[in-house]
């Protein structure tokens, strides 16, 4: 018997519809750390993986958007609990992916978990902030209510592989949308490990789907896809963003343009929460007006 153990290498896989498939194309690519040392092989997704992910996201949309906001909040908080349990793993992966020292990577992971909790708390509060009762000239209640827009394609930021990813993903699912995420091209490993957290924390399969590979290759069919309702271009460079926005115009997708973010750990505000909401306005009669001209 030898003292040396055989190393158990991890096979990173995609996350589509609650399952962990390899890329339909069978391709992988090498992921390296900032110094160029090999870390792992990640799946190199094809457009068919993107298509399958959209089908899964569409299928999950009814249940997720129909869940109560409170329930969504609980589920997302559960994700934060699971992240906390795997903290060491993420610190290791973020350190490798972004070339950070262990303590700096730990700070990033902490900020990420806090970010997730922050968005989990917003699920049942956003409606009070951006919805409400509108005063109208007639015997009606007029109520505006924010509704999720549907399937959202998310191009995760290229540089901030974990905090940036969660900062763009969490607001999408917190408001009841389902997401197809294209992980950071150079450092997809934290995103692929996040999938394992999501799979074990009550998030229904298909609500979040995570693809790794060449951003430009996967994003093009997503931007053109007729069954995707919105696209967040955070991870696209200027030329790609323009091309994708043009493709997205065909079915009037909501598009969030890439904005330079210096510090992902700054308080994000409500911008990303409201970006993928539609406002539904409902008129409801107040009932017959009394002799005094008011039903109150």
């Amino acid at each position: 018997m030898s003292d040396a153990r055989l190393s158990v290498l991890k096979t990173y896989k995609l996350y589509v519809g609650g399952k962990f498939p390899r890329s339909e194309s069978g391709r992988v690519y090498e992921v390296t750390d900032v110094k160029g040392d090999w870390l792992a092989n990640a799946p190199l997704s094809s457009r068919k993986d993107a298509r399958d992910a959209v089908v899964a996201a569409r299928k999950a949309f009814g249940g997720w958007s129909g869940a109560t906001a409170y329930n969504r909040g609980q589920v997302l908080y559960r994700v934060a609990e699971m992240l906390e349990g795997r903290r060491a793993q993420f610190v290791h992966e973020v350190a490798g992916a972004e070339g950070l020292s262990k303590s700096k990577a730990a700070a990033v992971v902490d900020a990420t978990i806090d970010r997730w909790v922050w968005y989990a708390g917003w699920t049942d509060k956003i409606a009070q902030v951006v919805g409400g009762a509108n005063p109208v000239a007639g015997p009606y209640f007029n109520l505006s209510s924010p509704e999720p827009t549907g399937v959202v394609a998310v191009l995760a930021p290229q540089e901030s592989s974990f905090l940036g990813l969660v900062s763009v993903l969490a607001p999408v699912v917190a408001t009841g949308n389902t997401a197809v995420v294209v992980a950071s091209e150079r450092s997809p490993l934290p995103a692929l490990s996040l999938a394992e957290v999501l799979a074990t924390s009550d998030v229904p399969g298909g609500v979040v789907n995570i693809l790794s590979g060449r951003t430009a290759e996967i994003a093009a069919p997503l931007a053109a896809h007729q069954d995707v309702n919105a696209i967040d271009l955070a991870g696209a460079d200027e030329a790609l963003a323009k091309e994708l926005e043009t493709a997205a115009a065909d079915n009037l997708k909501r598009v969030v343009r890439p904005q330079p973010v210096d510090d992902w750990s700054a308080t994000p505000g409500l911008e990303r929460l409201t970006a993928f909401l539609e406002t539904k306005t409902v008129w409801h009669p107040t009932g017959a007006l009394g002799a005094a001209g008011s039903s109150y």
Partner: protein
Amino acid sequence: MLPIVPDGSDSAPGSRGVYSRYARRYARLVTMPTHTPAASPVPDVTASESTLRRFLHGLPGVDAVGLEARAAALGTRSIKTTAKAYALDLAISMVDLTTLEGADTPGKVRALGAKAVRPDPADRTAPATAAVCVYPDMVPVAKEAVAGSGVKVASVATAFPAGRASLAVKLADVREAVAAGADEVDMVIDRGAFLAGKYLKVYEEIAAVKEACGTDARLKVIFETGELSTYDNIRRASWLGMLAGADFIKTSTGKVAVNATPANTLLMLEAVRDFRAQTGIQVGVKPAGGIRTAKDALKFLVLVNETAGADWLDSHWFRFGASSLLNDLLMQRQKLATGRYSGPDYVTVD
């Protein structure tokens, strides 16, 4: 005239050994040509309960593993670009657009008829489907909805889907559908009688329904393969149906757990191929139920081409009994035309 195939002289491709064994058995039973092919292509076989049983049980047993492996292997063909465009259009033209619900309303049947005539209103190059398939009382509505187009109206009959009624009731059901203008009648066989071994009863029932259909309506015989338990039974039922005068043999009603599978459709395609080789009569095949994606439909078309041959690649000889399949075919068609993945927002909700 019945051709009597001597041993080893058949010209059909593939499986020569099994095939000549088949022919040998057949040649013994078919001793002389008949002059009344309309009644039965092989009167000697169907003369009595015992000859029919001897014939059906004398059919070669089905190699289940081989059958499923062959069906799976044919499902791996890659069909792309122009071949795919051709196959999608062919599949659309083969769809029997079906609604068989207790909740069917005249409005729903009219909507279905409109969709059958013009499946993709945004793209007029999309072909019409083959037929709409409804319950007998909806035939007049369907007939009106597809009037002036080439789309046929098919009606299920004979106490669909269970088939548990007396022959008189079943025949009345058929006559009503035909009188209302049905171009095609989809009957169910009496699975209880078949499984109890009363083959002649099943045979006579099919023959009676065929007679009630007259010359105007084509008869599709549904075996409900999910209830026949074994591949051997499916092969026997196929031959029984064809001997009794079926114009089409159809897998299932779509009302049970197991519907059309590539394997049982392959088996039925082999049966119609062999039947034509023996009798000269071509019979159509219709898998129904459970075919929901364009990818599946294309796999079935490969089975047809590789088993029965290109003669069956026509809506006159091969159909899909389906409802949701059409939407997927249309979405794939839109993808091919535009290069963009389509979505359910761009096809009708039915």
